[in-house]
């Protein structure tokens, strides 16, 4: 083994021997660093999971990132021809820009009489296109969401909320659940799924139906309600340009209408969450690491003073100042690195084997569809930070060790 390699090997061997001999002290001094790295990694992962929960929750209401909404309201009273014209203009706008995912939506705007077993009741209906399920990450509690195949069904298909289903005596996927809608021209609709309905407090019934069904079965007064809003799911980067283009194009095509094009998803709110994650959570982690580092430094200083005779004896063996410095420093660095690795390992284990535990700590909601991956960057940052803290906390004791007078150390 070459001399250039032997030196570092010997230094590492010596430092490892020190860590081994002083393992109790080392372990105690590293509790702070261990907890800080563990907290940094786990909280970041929990934060990511919380962010994803929030993303999915807001996407169910406002659409995925980036969802644009274009509304056109007549300045005067709505007419059937005007509504059809406005719908045509909106449809053409979506097709002209070759947007893959788009659809019309009227959230809670329909007022439909529903003949429940307990009596008839007017229920707010939301009318959507089949693309809505994907664009809004629709997750049903039971059954399924509306699809394009429901366009061809012989009766309106409904997705209702839990209050609606309860008024029907419950919902069972295995047996068709039907309900009669309408007053003068009643129609029997089939319930295909149960899920939360936006703009409903959960205690009053609400339902989704397809726009096509609403038209076919006369569930909506098109002339009176005005045109539905157009929703488009576009790439984040193009959202601003699309919004401006749609605003001007649709407004130009619909004189006498107030056109409003805007981004409806929670992009801005998520940026705030990202900022909190980036600076808040990591700030707390860094603060905890600094506290852990002070603990390591404190214990390191006390220990070096206790080990001054030992250091003197090593100098008598021929240990150079650099070697003493390196050994004490490496002891601190190696120990904090090991603490960091253990903390990350525990965090990985916790997040891998008990994600439910973590999810249960977060606000209740629909289960996560896309579980965020383990935050490797946070783990790497934690390890690097722990090692850096070890190095910084080791410099002072190492300097004290080097400056110790050998003679005094031996006679101490």
């Amino acid at each position: 083994m070459g001399r250039w390699l032997l030196g570092p090997v010997a230094a590492v061997t010596e430092a490892w021997g020190e860590v081994r001999v002083h393992r109790t002290r080392v372990v105690l001094s590293l509790v702070g660093v261990f907890l800080a790295v563990f907290a940094m990694t786990t909280i970041t992962a929990a934060g990511n999971m919380g962010r994803q929960l929030m993303v999915e929750s807001t996407e169910r209401t406002s659409g995925r990132s980036a969802t644009l909404q274009v509304s056109a309201y007549p300045n005067g009273a709505p007419t059937l021809q005007g509504t059809e014209r406005a719908s045509q203009v909106l449809r053409e706008a979506a097709e002209r820009h070759e947007v893959a995912w788009w659809g019309f939506v009227s959230q809670g705007s329909g007022q439909v009489t529903v003949r429940f077993p307990t009596g008839a009741q007017v229920v707010p209906f939301s009318y959507v296109d089949p693309s809505y399920g994907t664009m809004h990450r629709a997750v049903t509690d039971q059954g399924r969401f509306l699809t394009a195949a429901d366009d061809q069904a012989f009766s309106p298909r409904l997705v209702v909320n839990r209050a609606f289903a309860d008024l029907l005596g419950g919902f069972d996927e295995r047996t068709p659940t039907t309900v009669v809608l309408g007053g003068d021209r009643p129609v029997t609709a089939t319930v295909v799924g149960v899920m939360e309905v936006p703009y409903s407090d959960g205690t009053t019934p609400g339902a989704y139906a397809l726009n096509s069904a609403a038209q076919s079965w006369g569930l909506v007064d098109t002339a009176m309600s005005g045109p539905p809003a157009l929703e488009l799911w576009v790439p984040d980067a193009d959202a601003e340009a699309f919004t401006a283009a749609l605003q001007s194009e649709v407004q130009a095509a619909l004189p006498g209408y107030s056109v409003s094009a805007y981004r409806s998803d929670a992009g801005e709110e998520l940026r705030v969450v990202d900022l909190v994650l980036a600076y808040g959570v990591r700030g707390v982690g860094v603060f905890a690491l600094v506290l852990g580092g002070i603990g390591v430094l404190n214990v390191g200083l006390v220990t070096v003073r206790q080990r001054i005779r030992e250091i003197g004896v090593r100098r008598s063996f021929g240990a150079t100042g650099g070697r003493v410095f390196f050994a004490v420093l490496l002891e601190s660095v190696a120990a904090t690195f090991v603490a960091g690795v253990l903390a990350v390992a525990l965090s990985v284990a916790l997040l891998s084997y008990a994600p439910e535990l973590l999810a249960s700590l977060l606000p209740a909601g629909a289960p996560l569809q896309d579980v965020p991956p383990f935050p490797v960057s946070a783990a790497v940052e934690g390890l690097v930070a722990a090692t850096a803290v070890g190095a910084l906390a080791g410099v002072v004791p190492a300097t004290v060790a080097v400056r110790a007078k050998v003679i005094d150390a031996i006679r101490y």
């Binding site: 083994m1 021997g17 001999v21 030992e310 008598s316 063996f317 021929g318 240990a319």
Partner: protein
């Protein structure tokens, strides 16, 4: 004389906090030949340990010259000095100074952490062999606190000789031991250094220990003078009659 150690007019003084200067060694002249055993006796505070530290390159003289194997050692870098110290000298301390938490083998192997090549790689094996030579082959994995005083000093002896130093510096090697144990330790020490041809410098209060050396010196208020054989014999005899 083929001198291993040559000190010429070596003095050592330190500045005290009150601004005065304390002279610890004054004009020390000493030549020690290869393989020779010399002893330095003196009262506490006479400068014995300072002299030993200067010889062992743990301290530097304020003035005077120190030649090791005919080459001056002053002016060397701290790094070079440390390497030369590790390669040339072995130290035996009165309080043994064994490293706590390490077995006897690990203690004896510890100087070899600063050796190079084969010595470093074979350190545990070499340490075990050294312990067997001092009669502690059955205590290889014993912690220092589980060893008797004599055993601890023998571990310290093995450790001081594990790098085969050319000079062994023993500071009160029997100071913490009873007479019989001290005598046994000295027997082992002398046997080892004789076999290896190691130069031995012993500092001691004990005249009977000093009498075992080839030459004896007295250090009194920092001034070193050689003691004649008759004086040593008389002092030893006087001590034995007490």
């Amino acid at each position: 004389m083929n001198a291993t150690l040559t000190l010429s007019q070596v003095s050592r003084s330190v500045a005290l906090p009150d601004g005065t200067t304390l002279r610890i060694l004054t004009g020390v002249d000493l030549q020690v030949a290869a393989g020779e055993h010399v002893a330095v006796v003196g009262r506490s505070g006479s400068g014995k340990s300072t002299l030993l530290n200067i010889i062992g390159l743990l301290d530097a003289p304020t003035s005077g010259h120190y030649l090791l194997d005919g080459r001056p050692v002053d002016g060397m870098s701290a790094r070079r000095t440390a390497r030369l110290r590790g390669e040339t000298f072995g130290f035996v301390f009165q309080q043994f100074n064994l490293l706590p938490g390490r077995t006897a083998t690990e203690n004896v192997a510890s100087p070899l952490l600063y050796a190079s090549g084969r010595e470093f790689l074979r350190r545990r094996r070499t340490a075990r062999e050294m312990l067997e030579r001092v009669g502690l082959g059955g205590r290889l994995d014993t912690m220092p606190e589980k060893l008797s005083g004599g055993e601890q000093q023998r571990v310290a002896l093995a450790r001081s000789l594990v790098r085969r130093p050319r000079v062994l510096l023993a500071d009160e090697p029997t100071g913490a031991l009873d007479v019989d144990t001290g005598s046994a330790v000295m027997d082992v020490l002398e046997e080892l250094v004789r076999r290896e041809g190691t130069t031995l410098v012993t500092i001691t209060h004990d005249l009977s220990v000093a009498a075992r050396a080839d030459r004896q010196f007295r250090l009194d208020h920092g001034v070193l003078s050689e003691i004649t054989g008759d004086a040593v014999a008389a002092a030893t005899a006087h001590r034995e009659t007490l």
